[in-house]
Symmetry: C2
Subunit: 389 residues, 2 copies
């Protein structure tokens, strides 16, 4: 089913990954969204790694965070020098071992990396959707992914994992399609987006909306709201790190100088780092997608959407085995939010393990190479797989 | 010397405060700045409360934070319904008791509340300075304040206090004019602006600079960079609160609705709060001043400017008695930064007390009514005063 892979354990390139597309919900069979609106056709970009076994029992679904994409690991070609976003975790012999497991990763609905989103062409007008794109939720993203898995003929998912907004999708899967999910590993995430997280997202959105080039979302044939999107990304980057991480990575070190500039140039390395991150981001990301996806995260609240009165009842329908992981220095989705999740799972009698990993790098820690994280994920998925066999 | 005051203990209005101006550094006697440039004339707006005693030994200097001003407490008139920014602390019988002490508060150099700043008229051109205004440092701010105190005939300061950037000025005073400072109360502050604090300031500055109306600082005769300044303020507001504070104050409560809007309106109360704070701020603050003052804070590093190789030697020249106060939920200037300060003071054999106040409201806690804070400050100033007599 998929091209094989990336690098083997010695680092030798042994194959390639390929971005593929699945289109469904062709009118008049549009997908019904949580907002009550309908959307179609929908294309989902996805990539797979490893080999699907005969009984399709070795599927691991990886869910990306806010600005991620389907390119989870490996390279597109021998000359492609930038691997996917979680290459340290996914590959032959790695934490998610593509020698054993069939990994599926798709770009979220509303995204701009191949899946249908606000930059896609509105079939009725022939022009990009812009703000006429309907608001999507984490539930809608999962619904679209489910259609992809149906198409791939996958009925049960051995394990699924993702950090941050990827973790929200993991949790959503477990209550939306509980019969399909054998095990789940939510990383650095939450059952409900906090006021702090909403606040940062809202400021980032306002930075985009403040850019005159944003033009109420209608900018695809003109200059792009790059300055606004760049500021939005800078805000994000500060929240992904931590006080400690920033101190260790940059401290008060100056940029290319021994003295202060006494003007508004970048004096400090942390300033040029942020400006660089902002500038890089606008080359690969669509401002409207940023607005839609952050809003989907802000809307995320398992308590509310489960129609249950208390957090305890959220996991009423879930049956997966869980490994919940948080990181000590993550102040965007702090450990107490993972503990709340674990408490609710335990009250429902679910099989749940919890681990808080000592990490200095803030919320970003889930993306960085971490032997402990890789071992925990590997051990957990292997044990679920062995128990199943 | 000053008009008397505000409200007495029963809340009755018993007088008024008045904004006054002191101008100095008239050319050719401009003030030399840390950048090497010269600036003059300089006007400093200031207010006083209480009565200066005969031997001028009852002076308490209050230093404001980033967006504060000289209007520390009291009302300008009987119909003025908005008291100064620290009215809960400063007044008759309050933590800083204007029945006993003569309180002086001035607007910082570079500000926009009456003191000379980038919005002031450049004497050479007759137009506002804009970006031709020289960069100022915390040291320059203190230098200008010193000129004001000289003018007022004040040679010794019984006590001085301020939070955040006000606290930086307090520390700066203690090493720049150590012979004048009997005691000092730095609140929620730091010896050196951290990478995290610089990062947030830089993102806020970039939001202003991204606004086309900013026009390289030259906007005084046209539309103002209000959208950029508003986003900058929103960023600030998130950092002044805390995860806990935002959860308690707003949680995920919706604004005027039972359901999500499924558009980009304010769904959550925290969103409208931030938008409101941004909109209010642009009415009273100058965008260029925001740029200059945040940069001054970013440059602040007592270790570096003291020319000493280690933090321990920072307070080599200081002789004040210190009360250092931090707040548990302040993640912009966390307690460890106050502890570092206290450690350095102790190593120099200074008389220093330290208190970490349990407070839920993040960095903003120093501004909010807090009986413990008021009692600590009152007790400390009284004891210094009594010891002196």
């Amino acid at each position: 089913m998929s091209e094989y892979i990336t690098h083997d354990r010695s680092g030798r390139s042994v194959g390639r990954v390929e971005k593929k597309y699945f289109t469904f919900a062709e009118p008049p069979n549009e997908m019904a969204l949580d907002s009550g609106r309908r959307l179609g056709p929908i294309t989902i970009a996805y990539e797979t790694m490893g080999r699907l076994n005969a009984d399709k029992s070795n599927v691991v679904l990886v869910l990306h965070a806010l600005t991620g994409d389907s390119h989870v690991a490996g390279h597109y070609s021998e000359t492609d020098d930038k691997p996917g976003w979680w290459d340290n975790m996914v590959g032959p012999g790695k934490g998610i071992d593509t020698d054993k497991y069939f990994v599926v990763c798709s770009n979220v609905l509303g995204g701009c990396m191949g899946s249908t989103g606000p930059a896609s062409t509105h079939p009725a007008t022939g022009a990009p959707y812009g703000l006429s794109f309907p608001m999507v939720t984490i539930g809608d993203m999962v619904r679209a992914q489910k259609a992809l898995l149906d198409y791939l003929g996958i009925k049960r998912i051995l394990s699924m994992t993702g950090g941050s907004m990827g973790g929200m999708q993991v949790l959503q899967w477990c209550i939306q399609y509980p019969e399909m999910v054998l095990s789940a590993i939510p990383l650095a995430t939450t059952m409900r987006h906090s006021a702090l997280a909403i606040a940062f997202n809202e400021v980032a959105r306002q930075a985009i909306i403040a850019d005159p080039n944003w033009n109420n979302g209608d900018y695809y044939d003109g200059p792009r709201p790059n300055v606004g999107l760049s500021v939005a990304r800078m805000i994000g980057h500060v929240t992904y790190l931590s006080d400690d991480a920033l101190r260790q990575k940059f401290g008060r070190r100056l940029q290319d100088r021994d003295n202060f500039s006494f003007n508004f140039d970048s004096d400090f390395q942390v300033e040029s780092y942020l400006r660089h991150q902002g500038a890089k981001f606008v080359e690969r990301f669509d401002a409207n997608s940023f607005l839609y996806i952050t809003k989907a995260a802000d809307y995320f609240d398992l308590t509310q959407q489960s129609g249950q009165s208390s957090a305890v009842d959220v996991f009423l329908k879930a049956s997966a085995r869980f490994l919940v992981i948080s990181f000590t220095s993550d102040w965007l989705y702090p450990t107490y939010q993972s503990r709340d999740m674990v408490k609710a799972m335990k009250k429902r009698g679910l099989d749940v393990s919890f681990c808080e990993i000592e990490a200095e790098w803030g919320h970003d820690a889930f993306l960085l190479p971490n032997e402990r994280l890789a071992n925990l994920i590997k051990g957990f998925i292997d044990s679920v797989y062995e128990r199943m066999e």
